[in-house]
Amino acid sequence: MEATQLIKVTVDGKTVEVPVGTTIMEAARMIGPEVAPPAMCYYKPLKGSGGKCRACLVKVAQGSEKDPRPMPKLVASCITQAQDGMVVENFSNPDVVNARKGIVEFLLINHPLDCPVCDQAGECHLQDFAFEHGLGTTRYDDERRTFEPEDIGDKIQLNKNRCILCYRCVYTAEQITDSRVHGVMYRGDHAEISTYISKAIENDFSGNVIDVCPVGALTDKTYRFKSRVWFSKPADAHCNCDKCSGKVNLWYKGDEVIRVTARKNQWGEVEDFICNDCRYEKKKTSDWVIEGPTKIPRHSVISANKYAANTIKKPEFAMDFAAHNFKEIDDNRDYNKSLEEIKKSGDYKNLMNKNKALLSK
């Protein structure tokens, strides 16, 4: 057998050897989470995914050993193949970080920050993406697009207000279900994910669109509002299923299985898609063979403060960047003063008067 040809790729100063044909994204993931670009639309198990959200833009500072010229524009790392000797700047390039901030801002235009009510809170990739880039707002101050609720069946809730049009669910429907009934309609920012004339999505594997959705646009009606993800405990389990691999995560609240999902790797991608029977119908522990507690991926809020070893280390450049770019806070506004002093201030008095007026109404 011919040995696979290996090429050298350097991302943020760290070098890895990968087979020819590997994308920059996959090469970076091999190095580790500290240099892996964020991904909102790319989903390795789905063929053809990627290239759309532009969250993974990187700078190619050197094209290859042979042709060291840099690439003129930022490139989407999830769909750009690496070359031998390629040097990529990711978190280490301020232009890249800035462009990504731009992407967060664009995405937040039509994605409300209603995390307190959204079922995806704690498992939302956009939440992580925004958090990692220090942006929770957008300068957009016009009306957002809003949609009436659309019924697409008894198991899946569609909330188009939150959809970021990553196309993952479309690829899922196309690739793992036999009758695709949903896709994207219209163009531009009028584009909407929808079903064919509000048809229900009800084939055997349709539930997987919930797992691939990076935000809270597609959620599980059998689980919604039963708990928040950080109050639940996931366990790895399997069953003998004649439709799918039967490998799942069971999400426990106390002794009760409140949700069943496919298992995801550290990048939030499903390893084996599961069928609707496993997802919706088998909600008793006795339906399953329990393997043990799930190893929490870095993305999950469940890991916060518990799994220190698992959490992402901030790259050194970020510390440098912060040290050079952020000055000490020099803020002498009212709220920094002692309570007694605040009480004396005019602002405080005004506020109190307003409150009084409101309460007396």
Binding site: K52, R54, A99, Y140, L165, D189, A191
Partner: protein
């Protein structure tokens, strides 16, 4: 430097030239005979390379080089696709050619398909132009009956089927990869590149996509030789170019110019546009279709170095985006002092907002955002910070999208603010005056 050389439009006014008979009598299809009987495909590609012609669809990529990139794997068909979508606001030259002299395009398609080894080729035309589609279909039928299309063309053993495909009428379907998706019967979303169409195009097969004008030129190149073509024009801008001129000029229309013609001569000489309409003066020009940066009158006549600006790829882009623009698709829009730049920019922005395919986040969200901010400024609700916000949003779209529609949406906004910032500021500081009917700001004097 006015030159009378016409290679695409010399016969366009002959009565009946849209019929095979008249076209043939006037020397038509000689290039097909020469190409198929006397030349090898490689020789044709060589002539096109020698001509130095750059694609006339907008990007100006050398046509011969594009042809030579075409992969030629065994046993897999190759395709030639002619891009007749032409939806760029301000551009209407391909329509003019297809409608008036359809056989010129068909002759070019046969020569080019033979050179590329394609046995099935497509002409993709914007669906709204149904009557043009019918004209082309009739011409194809005539050429087929005369033995220039179909099986065994001129007894050479070469077969070619030519199909006219009506497009969905979306601007994005003019982008070459979106066009291919649309031809395949799918939603016209641009593909990520690479792979380029030359490697994996229509039905995953090697494909060349060229503009109508580019393909129509190949007959002349074959008849007269690439070297002759390269003698026309200036520098790396060889040959002639169709310019569709509109706006406040005395004689709007489609003109064939030799590249290198001074812009001033193009606008003011009687042979071309005949100047700006009576009693008015030129304020700004969009030289290559709505997507290219707008230039104020002084910068369109002369480059920042004070040299006369020429109608050529190099001269128009001299100065980069700071003081230059692009030849683009040749949609020349002249605006006099009665034009409100803010309103014009908003109008362009509305177009790109409407036409973004919506696949990638910066373009999908950014085009809508810019449009809304411009709408507010135009309607007297703008804030001073909106101007910098627009510049910033445009920058965040530019270069970060799948296809160049993102850039096309960002450049008009960025350039309008770069050159006409005081006009935007005036709109914001004088919301009442600015929203009066016909209000226009120019050089601190206000026309209402």
């Amino acid at each position: 430097m006015a030159s009378d050389i016409k290679i695409l439009t010399d016969k366009i006014n002959i009565p009946g030239i849209e019929t095979f008979e008249v076209y043939r009598k006037n020397g038509g299809y000689a290039a097909v005979e020469k190409a198929i009987k006397k030349m090898s495909p490689d020789e044709i590609v060589e002539e096109v390379k020698k001509s130095g012609i750059r694609g006339r669809g907008g990007a100006g990529f050398p046509m011969g080089m594009k042809w030579s990139f075409l992969a030629k794997p065994e046993g897999i068909p190759r395709y030639l696709v002619c891009n007749g979508d032409e939806s760029e606001p301000g551009t209407f030259k391909d329509h003019y050619l297809m409608k008036n002299i359809p056989h010129l395009l068909i002759e070019g398609m046969i020569v080019s398909s033979f050179a590329l080894g394609a046995n099935k080729s497509f002409i993709y035309v914007r669906g709204e132009l149904m009557y043009v589609i019918r004209i082309l279909e009739k011409a194809i039928e005539e050429a087929k009956n005369a033995g220039f299309l179909g099986k065994n063309i001129l007894g050479s053993g070469y077969d070619l089927e030519l199909v006219v495909q009506p497009g969905g009428g979306a601007y994005i379907c003019g982008e070459e990869t979106a066009l291919l998706e649309s031809l395949e019967g799918k939603r016209g979303n641009p593909r990520n590149k690479p792979p380029f169409p030359a490697i994996k195009g229509l039905y995953q097969s090697p494909t060349v996509v060229n503009n109508v004008e580019s393909i129509a030129t190949t007959s002349w190149i074959i008849n007269h030789g690439g070297d002759e073509y390269a003698k026309l024009g200036i520098g790396r801008s060889t040959g002639t170019k169709l310019i569709s001129a509109s706006g406040h000029v005395k004689k709007p229309g489609v003109y064939e110019i030799e590249l290198g013609l001074p812009v001033e001569e193009f606008i003011y000489s009687d042979q071309y546009l005949g100047g700006i309409r009576e009693g008015h003066q030129l304020k700004a020009v969009v030289a290559g279709g709505s997507s290219v940066p707008i230039l104020p009158a002084n910068l369109i006549m002369k480059t920042a170095n004070g040299e006369p600006r020429l109608m050529s790829y190099e001269s128009l882009s001299d100065g980069g985006f700071a003081t230059g623009t692009m030849l683009g698709s040749g949609g020349f829009i002249a605006m006099d002092e009665t034009t409100c730049i803010v309103r014009n920019t908003w109008n362009f922005s509305r177009f790109y907002h409407h036409e973004s395919c919506g696949q990638c986040s910066p373009c999908r969200e950014g085009t809508g955002w810019m449009e809304k901010v411009l709408h507010k400024i135009e309607h007297g609700h703008g804030k001073m910070s909106d101007i910098d916000l627009l510049v910033d949003v445009a920058k965040r779209i530019e270069g970060n999208t799948i296809c160049p529609l993102g850039d096309a949406a960002a450049w008009p906004v960025g350039s309008a603010i770069r050159h006409f910032r005081d006009e935007f500021e005036w709109h914001i500081t004088h919301p009442h005056e600015a929203t009066q009917k016909g209000a226009v700001f120019m050089n601190k004097s206000i026309l209402v």
